[in-house]
Symmetry: C2
Subunit: 232 residues, 2 copies
DNA sequence: GTCTATAAACCGATAGAC
DNA sequence: GTCTATCGGTTTATAGAC
């Protein structure tokens, strides 16, 4: 779309980075097969040959894009978890961390520190059993599930392993759905974007469902919807 | 994959049907862009030119496939709903219908009256905001949501419209996740297919989460995990 | 309706000048 | 590192014999 004629003619190899970002956005939106290297180069404001110069093939570029996104997401998840999960985890702390996690994850699909197409790309890869599924499993799916399960176990020590796993899938499924089915949901809601009001009700609902099901709704640590700062 | 040389050489125009089925399976598995008409024709045991003869273009074939799948799914949903939802709906009937619906939907992803790629194709379409999103909305997404919301309302008359909608998304999200993330889940479970045991625990969990959250768990109609036949 | 042969466009990838 | 030009292959779609 952007008619960038020759921007930055003497630029160094940040062309590589621009290509990754452009390719990622297109792959996330249209998939691998429906995206051509010409589209990628055009969107990145680079030459067609640049793709094969910086990456040796389109497939390799795809792999590199996934690697890049996984790296970004892993870094963000690490700092986020370190931020909301204290080192020594008491039960009430775990409950609060769970609450914050749900809020974070849902909001990561609308306005987060990461571009929105990151999650879309990963979702697409997960559904299409491509060869990049392995790194995604090891660096995203499994760690995310593990982190969620640890939190659940800390919040509800009485849970069995199987119950914990099922809960992790239930929570993840509810959250992912709002990204996966974004278009239909927005269409039925007659909105162009998820509104803050809508997101707040979604977070409240999933939290309520989860905590009620886990028997954690005895602690009304409900924040009065006022406060803002959330430093540790 | 199947090396079907010329099967049914003197067949009539059920070639059209075979093309739709083959195309649907390939589109569902690899997506539109990664599927060629040659692949489709080969899998259908038809000639390459047959695609453009029966449908005028690959895109039109895609549209026809989606139409076909939507028709099948609509028909099945109608009879299924008529089967499990009595005409005049009492509250306990709604609760039981909800239970059966959850069971049905989850099992539709493993062994149902419909081929498994049907749901996959629709999921793929939903994520890719293609031009076929509109018919999918009208014939699948909206009616499914509406049916679920009606059941929820009948089971819990005290629910507001917004709460009902959120619950519909929560239930759908949990269920769809086991189809959407089938590969990662099976990989982590070290299984090749969802086992009956696993599906039973998933159904039990989602049912428990839902009914507990809705305050419907006062009716311990719990089946004693023994029985086998489940005719009406 | 089914087939072969082929057209016309596009694809990913490369060679070579700068 | 970036560009133009182009190769070789594959794609969708069509023309025409049967």
């Amino acid at each position: 779309m952007g008619r960038r004629p020759k921007l930055l003619p003497d630029s160094n190899d940040d062309t590589r980075q621009r290509l990754i970002l452009a390719a990622g956005e297109l792959f996330a939106e249209k998939g691998f097969g429906d995206t051509s290297v010409r589209d990628i180069a055009r969107m990145a404001g680079a030459n067609v040959a640049a793709v094969n110069y910086h990456f040796t093939s389109k497939e390799n570029l795809y792999l590199e894009v996934v690697r890049f996104v996984l790296g970004q997401m892993t870094a963000v998840r690490r700092t986020a978890m370190a931020d909301i999960v204290p080192a020594a985890l008491t039960q009430p702390q775990a409950v609060e961390a769970l609450r914050v996690l749900i809020d974070r994850e849902i909001r990561s699909y609308v306005s987060s520190d990461l571009p929105r197409w990151y999650a879309r790309l990963i979702l697409r890869c997960i559904m299409s059993k491509s060869p990049v599924l392995d790194p995604i499993m090891e660096q995203a799916f499994r760690p995310n599930r593990q982190a969620l399960m640890s939190l659940l176990k800390a919040a509800c020590p009485h849970l069995s392993d199987e119950e914990t796993r099922l809960w992790a899938y239930s929570i993840t499924g509810q959250i992912v759905f709002y990204n996966f089915a974004r278009e239909p949901i927005l269409l039925l809601a007659r909105e162009k974007e998820y509104t803050e009001k809508f997101l707040r009700s979604v977070v409240a609902h999933i939290t309520r469902v989860t905590f009620s099901g886990l028997g954690l709704d005895k602690h009304p640590v409900r924040r009065p919807k006022k406060q803002a700062g959330k430093k540790s």
